[in-house]
Symmetry: C2
Subunit: 437 residues, 2 copies
């Protein structure tokens, strides 16, 4: 297997694009430095072809963006028709209204909708609306919510504030120091932390969190948060960018019976086309009219067209059921493979959104890198997780699990023989935010 | 002509979408309240079909986003191929690197590039990078730059700060009050105002402006701004979202021989597909690596594919020359029609980006509304401006000018007979930001 063209272009990319990629999680250095194919020519279903023509099974689904799989025929057909008919004009596209109606039908507590074209951007819109409604600047938050000033402001105080919220070490340079103290983190399932924040800060107008990621809510955590938000009159925003559409058709909060005031969707919503939606209660969303939130790119037609086609397919094909069924198979297989090879592996769900880690202290990341290297040799793009998609069928899941079993066996031997580092053909992968040269 | 379906859907849109549209400038109320067709079914070249099947000549080009015209065959072909081949994957798309190389070739002072998917978003990225590099929060700015916190912060002090910067009355609710004083406006061609700002504020790290919009730089204004930025060590950011690609292939600054440190492109860059680019000097763009700027939607393939196809067509077909040629024809025709009918009309260029206003004091907006109403009867979507596109050929420009001549004649009579208001079949259009119910 030769992947020369990809290596060469990645070197060029780093010269001309700071960080090489627009997404930290798509940097070569996050997977397998100096060995990862970096660029794609074609993607279809669960398969990707690199620039040298190698074909891979890919279980990362564009870091979760393509919930139906790559180049889904129904979604692509709808989008291409919109392009043929003109995807933009001085008039508005009716698909925006249809999509708003569908989103409100799926989430009956929500009555109004705005759009953006990316998850981080949509979260900034949501926080703007929430602050406009509450009239207060301070945000208490939990989890990862993107690159915007409102969020990174948390790290102005102390650059460890965002540690434990998915990506560690996020640097807030360029975020105005004036925002110091406006974003205060609490940890998932630690209701006491949120209680302490609201008792110490009287200017909390917004509470932002993912309803869940890899940890289930315990002791009525979501209900408790809802209660606190109501008590202090704060707007509760659920970030459903990553978890939404995977457990059920709509936000994960539906499953847990706790409604936010605003929910934000992106990624899975539109199967990899740029799109995001902010849905909310009427009186709160109307606050959008008391502030200026407007962008030309939010009016094009591809985004809502792709979202409508994606949601309709998710409904028709009962996609979340598929994701859960295949996900359970993969979780079971991963645990079994770890057990068979007596490897210390922690596998976290929920089944459609699997994350696993090797628990070997300082060697964990080297072992994870070796895992990716050996899986790549088997023509599988794999790291410490699986984003299950509608295109990942039992057959491909089993191919992945067979490769995992073989690779775990190799890891077992490598650990036993103290060969983890010597077997690596390149540097150890990064585990968080780091400057590239 | 019946446009019932559009009216009905617009009423529904306002119930479910705060403000009805994602872009202030695409609201029905900005053109012709209760009469505007609101939604489109199809758009091609300079023509738009509404939901009732009426066909219009449209001189607004999606508020400037579609510089080649709607549904351009070359751009659409390239985008549809990218969709067939998969528009997203875990690996990166090589088009990002190709586009970066092309943008740097066209702007030799720039060495690195980042992307976003909208103009406002890209400006926020540019300001983040500039602040990260300079280490200072305060921004001196001129012109319109979107919905982000950094910009609207200017209005926290006084909600008139942004008046005169294209859109008046932009409300900053939901923008943290902590940002008060971080964005300070100066007016175009008023170098003394910028000098005063930098002498009174020692924390100015960034100067943001459009190189021009409807006013040409006077007395070496751009060079003077450049000099001040250099003197105080501020990063100079040119917002080329609206003016870029219209005067020449690339940023308008190339024509004026003044290079910024960062330039931002959107709209014209990709002919209506969501895309934006931030280009800059190497050492400044590398500051992007000292802060966290990352989003999933920025990695999809349609944006850079559309931009490459659009730029290559602009080069091949010498598009800016066409825009200027047709634009001069339109400017001349508008002035002539005003003169023929002894109407007080101020026509502002540059030729590819025409703006005109009726100078009748308190009646100006009613006259403009009547103009739009009468042009609509002639099946032309027209307001106080013309965004010239590559699809607007001499024939259509002449059709537009004949309709203008006739409509100006009607306006003349209406003014003479004091009938401007009685001839209006609906309310007067809004002229700026206003809450919709």
């Amino acid at each position: 297997m030769s992947i020369k063209k990809g290596f060469k272009l990645w070197r060029q990319a780093k010269k001309i694009i700071p960080g090489g990629s627009q997404l930290l999680s798509k940097r070569v250095e996050m997977f397998l430095p100096e060995q990862w194919p970096a660029f794609f020519k074609k993607a279809k279903g669960v398969e990707v072809w690199d620039l040298d023509g190698n074909k891979y099974l890919d279980v990362n689904a564009s870091i979760g963006a393509c919930i139906l799989g790559y180049a889904d025929p129904e979604v692509n057909r709808a989008v291409k028709k919109a392009i043929d008919d003109g995807s933009n004009s001085t008039l508005n596209c009716p698909e925006e209204v249809k999509l708003a109606e569908l989103l409100c039908k799926l989430h009956p507590w929500a009555k109004m909708v705005r759009y953006a074209r990316g998850g981080g951007e949509a979260m900034a819109v949501a926080v703007r609306i929430a602050r406009a409604y509450s009239g207060k600047s301070q945000v208490a938050f939990c989890g990862y919510h993107g690159w915007s000033d409102w969020y990174l402001a948390a790290n102005i105080v102390n650059d460890k504030s965002l540690d434990g919220h998915l990506l560690s070490g996020l640097e807030p340079r360029g975020v105005p120091r004036e925002l110091k103290g406006t974003a205060i983190p609490f940890r998932y399932n630690k209701i006491a932390e949120l209680k302490k924040i609201v008792s110490k800060n009287k200017n909390i107008g917004v509470i932002v969190m993912e309803p869940l990621r890899h940890e289930e809510p315990k002791d009525n955590f979501l209900k408790q948060v809802r209660k606190i938000a109501d008590k202090i009159g704060a707007v509760l925003v659920f970030d459903e960018v990553t978890i939404g559409w995977r457990l059920n058709v709509g936000g994960a909060h539906l499953k847990y019976g706790v409604n936010p005031d605003i929910a934000v969707f992106a990624k899975g919503l539109s199967n990899g086309f740029p799109m995001a939606a902010i849905i909310g209660k009427k009186e709160i969303m109307q606050a959008a009219q008391t502030t200026f939130i407007s962008s030309s790119s939010w009016t094009e037609r591809i985004g809502p067209t792709a979202a409508l086609a994606t949601i309709n397919k998710m409904i028709d094909k009962k996609v979340p059921e598929h994701l859960n069924r295949i996900g359970r198979l993969v979780v079971k297989g991963l645990k079994q493979a770890a057990k068979n090879n007596q490897l210390k592996v922690t596998v976290a769900g929920p089944p459609p959104l699997i994350h696993f880690s090797f628990d070997y202290g300082a060697d964990s990341q080297a072992i994870r890198t070796l895992f990716t290297q050996e899986m790549l040799k088997k023509k599988i793009l794999a790291s410490g997780g699986v984003y299950v998609t509608y295109s990942l069928k039992k057959k491909q899941a089993k191919r992945y699990l067979r490769a995992v079993e073989e690779t775990f066996r190799l890891l077992r031997k490598a650990i036993d023989n103290n060969q983890v580092h010597s077997l690596l053909n390149g540097p150890i992968a990064h585990s968080g935010f780091k400057r590239l040269v």
